[in-house]
Symmetry: C2
Subunit: 234 residues, 2 copies
DNA sequence: ACCTGAACACCGTTCAAGT
DNA sequence: ACCTGAACACCGTTCAAGT
């Protein structure tokens, strides 16, 4: 019972808020958000569960911290992007930042769920949105329009969208589509016809909830184009 | 311990899946999703917790069922809408349906969270989206564009969006804005200036996560206008 | 200052048993 | 067929105690 440490080498380094949070990210990366329990995290850090409470107020605070770590990653990623000057091509500048942010979400597929779940303020998030705001301002947006724009983009600004239905994780949904097709046909004719016509090409490039890159970019461009339109007719 | 029933009159009506689900909605309406536990729900129905398992496989299945009840409400609401024919004015037709759906979300503020949380298929959801699909088709959308449109709208089609930061529920956030203003001023100049300029008018008409009607309609119209543009440019 | 053991209240759930 | 009592494994968390 004693010799089975998951992280042996740093076991003697004293705990710290930072180590706790990064440990939590590691646990979630490995086993998903469900496996991120206080007891589990403690074990991964080679420590008792109650020790965590010295560095973090409670589980909510832990999750807030984890969300901030992830958005911090997003921020760092966005900062490295080399794009056009917002004054010349704000859409491309913003697009590149957001697609960079998306890369972080693809690395941590549980993160979208976590981020949407947090309701408390997040400094890193503020900084990230400030970066977008700067782009809009330098592109000539009024604060009023830029504010609407932030709300309109929502979580898409961070590189993800929450899909409403999807092939259940693990099950390859073929059975459902094949079997229920006739029963659906008369009740949901348009859907059936659509599914017949659509060739859902790249099923492997999906983020958390069946949100693949093509759909993400379509929605993103739709919004960016629309915002540019609003700016011009301003 | 025996005489404190919350729902006394129907206590003798035998349980049923339907009664369980509607009971769950009632519990969530009253105390939020956190209070919807098996034991809690059982008590509200005047029954032991284990009895629920006869009508519902487990808690996940219960929550799936609750989501379906809510989307069923949305569907019913949307069906009563009297709008223009899609062939003549699809945007208004769809807009009215979606704003009707939003009314349901305003009645059950925990529902957006629940719905975004469910990943399994939901027949009611399928029917609702089928209704939107019909509108697009009758308006001349290709299936390909209509499919993109469904993804682009996402949960907005159901009348809600998930806001990323908001004044924490219960706390009136004034303290934060006032106190940290100077510290933010040099790090987040655009945000500070924006907040100074924006008059956040109607703070009481907010859904779940600081998503007020104005912002919702702005984002919705942005998307609908953009889709119409895409339809015209083929 | 930092970590821990024992204990508490609360989950979802199983299973054998009641009517 | 429908409901229940007792029990289990697992949570987050408190609190007094250790070093």
């Amino acid at each position: 019972m004693t010799a089975q440490r998951e992280t042996e080498p740093q076991s003697r380094i004293p705990l710290s808020r930072d180590r706790v949070l990064r440990g939590a990210v590691a646990v979630a990366d490995e086993g998903g958000l469900d496996t991120l329990t206080m007891r589990n995290l403690a074990e991964a850090l080679g420590v008792e569960a109650m020790s965590l409470y010295y560095h973090v107020a409670n589980k909510e605070a832990l999750l807030d911290g984890v969300a901030e770590v992830i958005v911090g990653e997003v921020l760092a990623e966005a900062e490295t992007v080399e794009g056009p000057a917002p004054e010349e091509d704000w859409k491309t500048a913003m697009r590149l930042r957001i697609l960079a942010a998306r890369q972080v979400m693809l690395r941590h597929r549980w993160a979208p769920y976590l981020i949407e779940t947090r309701t408390t303020m997040n400094p890193a998030l503020l900084h990230y949105y400030h970066g977008l705001l700067e782009i809009w301002r330098r592109a000539g947006f009024s604060y009023d329009l830029a504010h609407h724009a932030m709300h309109a983009l929502g979580s898409r600004a961070l590189g993800f969208t929450q899909e409403l239905f999807e092939p259940a994780p693990g099950s390859d949904d073929e059975s459902v589509t094949d079997e229920m097709f006739e029963k659906m046909a008369d009740q949901l004719p348009y859907l059936v016809e659509m599914l017949g016509e659509i060739s859902h090409d790249d099923p492997e490039t999906t983020i958390g909830w069946c949100d693949d890159q093509t759909e993400f970019e379509f929605g993103l461009d739709l919004l960016l184009d629309g915002l540019e339109q609003r700016r011009l007719t301003g």
